[in-house]
Amino acid sequence: MTALAWLIPAALFLGGLGLLAFLWALRSGQFEDLEGAAYRALEDDPPEDSAGTQSSSHPE
């Protein structure tokens, strides 16, 4: 029974971590271009400098 004392908090913590990861992804613009991201994964060249990633989170 004492196992529950840490199992439940652990389960909630891990679930909450997933939720936070999703909220972070949403905020940083990961879902703004779902079609384009599929192609970007296939590019051979090294990723562009930091300017490219910064611009993804700015408001339009």
Partner: protein, 729 residues
């Protein structure tokens, strides 16, 4: 800025960036960005412009966002670089887009939070429910209930806000909408469960309240997603339409500027083959202009200094210098604006299918809930039991089919149409099109392509066409481009030779060893002027008889087939045009339309549509011209090609791309199937209510079972909706 609160290690870099000027971002719509390779080319092309710091293309939105260092880089520079790389781009006209996308992501956040809460509470509930059957310790059950409450309360407060806000505004206006019973069910179920947890009872139903919220939020998100996407696409189209104008600066220097940035009083140069970027007064130059986009009239009109020209007219002759005038001073535009405002008022009365269903549904739900509560009280049950049964009724009857299935069907239909190059602009457009029983076409630019085509193709030999096309290849004049297109149609390779000189408004000439080769007006080729005409071009080579090229606005290639199919499906069709009687009659004959009207003013078109509406017909109007805009706004539903006038695209519910007319059929059939699926989903929901409500009222259904049954029906209707997107790709 929060930079100063950052720890020192990361603060150095952030401060370093802050000292530079904050980057400005330009957003451009890029029309023909379609694949992964395009993303790279677009970004590379934009980065190659001096002063550009970053470029990020968005394939789904068909936009590129460019970070620039200072004001020296203009949108026109980036557009020039992109067009060099083969992309058509235009500056975005910013109209409150940011607040829409932020509202969409706020909804998505609520979906995520309620999903997390629903999963965890379900987990705890399953333990509680299965533990009760066995020998679970009472104190452990209490712990689980309190944990559920801890998760559920903040979730219900945070994630339910869109429903509470909408319900509150409805109640303030003394109306009932579907969000009232939804809010009531969620708040009552949560409050009741909290009370039961405090008194230590077994009837705790946080799981039902939160999973209900989760499902309803998904529906709300899909609905919002469709709206934002439709509005974004519409904005792209409008931005691309406006394009770039050549502004004449101090001392006669030319500077490209976005057309929407033009101010009254600006002087602009309109080259041959270019469209007027704004309403303007001609200052110098004289030319024939094609006003078909404005009036539907296909014969070009001659303009001279002092003449008024409208945005969207095509310059067929030599370059014109014009001065931009304020839009409201133009009588034609003012008239059209007035007609449109009146027509749109009439349309705002349309109520969506889900809203109409809600009007009947909401009072019924409240009535049943109240009847259950009072009924059980009268029978003598304790108020807690009566309230629990009433909550079960509210949850069972919760309008998931309305809130989830209709948006799901609409999203499926929209993505099906998007794939075929058809953009939905009005969120309720699909429902209105599905009711149409009559299709009314405009002629110029709708049944026809709206740009000149070579019509005496058969009378011209391959050899003459090859030489004429070679000459024409270097010109931007629409007739020249039509000759090149005709040559390409015959698989003749066209390459522009050196030494071609163009005299705007007259013709082209090239000196050959054996003499002069000319392409242009009759006068230009040394032919008696009486053999010339506004839609004629001659090709002359010194020693041979000149060859005549005739141009006319040709029908879209599949116009006749589409019209036949429409009649086969039982639609009545009609043709309304502002063009001359003879031209309209010819087009009507060719396409087999028996009801047609010519030389109509915009006001007469509306009257005609109003007559149809009085006869009880629901008209789908297909048109492109400025003169069609009021009719598009007045018709029950409307469709316009992507080549249409700015104002018409604003008015239309759908915009289709490409040279074919077939999208009209596609819109009609998709809309009809979407409506059938929506009705099917209503049917599913109705049947399930008929079966489940009596059980719930009798107290045989606990809120937990109600939540499970409700979820099952939600998933069923959503799966039904996806059938639309899958087939016939």
């Amino acid at each position: 800025m929060t930079i100063h609160t950052l720890p020192a290690s990361s603060g150095i870099k952030a401060l370093g960036e802050c000292e530079e000027e904050a980057p400005t971002f330009l957003t451009l719509a890029v029309e023909n960005m379609r694949c992964g390779g395009c993303i790279r080319s677009v970004e590379r092309a934009a980065m190659s412009v001096a002063g550009v710091r970053s470029a990020r293309a968005n394939l789904a939105a068909k936009r590129v966002s460019v970070g620039v260092e200072n004001d020296l880089v203009s949108e026109a520079d980036v557009i020039a670089a992109l067009s060099h790389a083969g992309f058509v781009a235009a500056p975005m006209q910013s109209v409150g887009q940011y607040s829409e996308t932020s509202r969409e992501s706020a909804l998505l956040r609520r979906v995520a939070v309620s999903g997390f809460a629903a999963m965890n509470i379900m987990l705890l509930s399953v333990s509680v429910w299965s533990g009760r059957a066995g020998d679970m310790d009472q104190s452990l059950v209490m712990l689980f209930c309190w944990l559920s409450a801890l998760i559920a309360l903040p979730t219900v407060v945070y994630a339910g806000q869109p429903f509470y806000a909408s319900a509150l505004s409805a109640l303030k206006g003394r109306r009932l909408n579907m969000d009232v019973p939804i809010s009531l069910a969620i708040i009552l179920a949560t409050g009741m469960s909290l009370y039961q947890t405090v008194v230590g009872s077994e009837q705790v139903y946080f799981d039902a309240a939160v999973s209900l919220l989760f499902f309803l939020l998904i529906g709300r998100y899909l609905d919002e997603h469709l709206r934002v996407r439709a509005r974004g696409e519409a904005q792209n189209l409008l931005s691309l339409q406006s394009g770039i104008a050549s502004l004449i600066g101090e001392g006669g220097s030319l500077r490209p500027v976005p057309a929407h940035a033009l101010m009254p009083g600006d002087k602009v140069l309109i080259g041959a083959g270019e469209r007027a970027p704004a309403d303007a007064l001609v200052l110098s130059g004289s030319a024939d202009i094609d006003q078909s986009l404005i009036t539907g009239e296909t014969i070009p009109v001659a303009v001279a200094p002092g003449a008024q020209i409208y945005a969207g007219t095509l310059n067929l002759g030599s370059a014109l210098t014009v001065q931009v005038t304020a839009a409201d001073s133009a009588t034609l535009l003012a008239e059209i604006g007035r007609l449109m405002a009146a027509a749109e008022q009439g349309k705002a009365r349309y109520r969506r299918l889900a809203d109409r269903a809600a009007q009947i549904y909401a009072p019924a739900v409240h009535g049943l809930g109240l009847a259950t509560f009072l009924g059980w009280l009268i029978v003598g049950a304790p108020w807690q039991t009566a309230l629990t049964y009433a909550i079960a009724v509210l949850i069972i009857t919760c309008p998931c089919a309305l809130a989830l299935a209709v948006p799901a069907v609409q999203i499926a239909a929209a993505s099906r149409l998007f794939r075929r190059g058809i953009v939905i602009k009005a969120a309720d457009g699909l429902e209105r099109v599905a009711e149409a029983d009559m299709v009314v076409f405009d002629k110029t630019g709708t049944l026809t392509l709206g740009c000149p085509q070579l019509v005496n193709d058969a009378a011209i030999s391959d050899e003459v066409l090859r030489s004429a096309a070679a000459l024409a290849a270097s010109s931007k004049h629409p007739y020249a481009q039509a000759i090149v297109a005709a040559a390409r149609n015959r698989q003749i390779a066209v390459a522009a030779p050196d030494g071609v000189e163009e005299t705007p408004g007259r013709g082209l000439v090239r000196i050959l060893p054996c003499g002069e080769e000319r392409l242009g007006s009759a006068e230009w080729c040394g032919i008696a002027p009486d053999r010339g005409g506004p839609s004629l071009v001659w090709y002359a080579l010194d020693w041979r008889t000149p060859v005549r090229f005739c141009f006319a606005d040709a029908l879209r290639s599949d116009a006749t087939a589409v019209l036949e199919e429409l009649k086969r499906r039982g639609f009545s069709v009609a043709l309304l045009s502002g063009d001359r009687n003879s031209a309209v009659e010819q087009a009507a004959r060719a396409t087999g339309i028996t009801t047609w009207q010519s030389e109509l003013t915009p006001a007469r078109k509306i009257d005609w549509l109003a007559d149809c509406a009085r006869e009880g017909r629901k008209v789908l109007m297909v048109g492109d011209g400025l003169n069609d805009a009021p009719a598009l706004a007045a018709a029950h539903a409307s469709l316009s090609p992507a080549s249409a006038a700015d104002i018409s695209q604003r008015a239309a519910d759908f915009v289709f791309q490409g040279m074919r007319l077939a999208p009209v059929l596609e819109v009609l059939s998709t809309a009809k199937r979407a409506r059938n699926l929506s009705l099917q989903n209503f049917g599913v929901a109705f049947c399930y209510n008929i079966v489940a409500v009596p059980f719930a009222m009798a107290g045989c259904v606990t809120p937990l079972i109600a939540a499970i049954v409700m979820s099952t029906s939600s998933i069923l209707v959503t799966l039904n909706a996806t059938r639309l997107a899958g087939r016939g790709k």
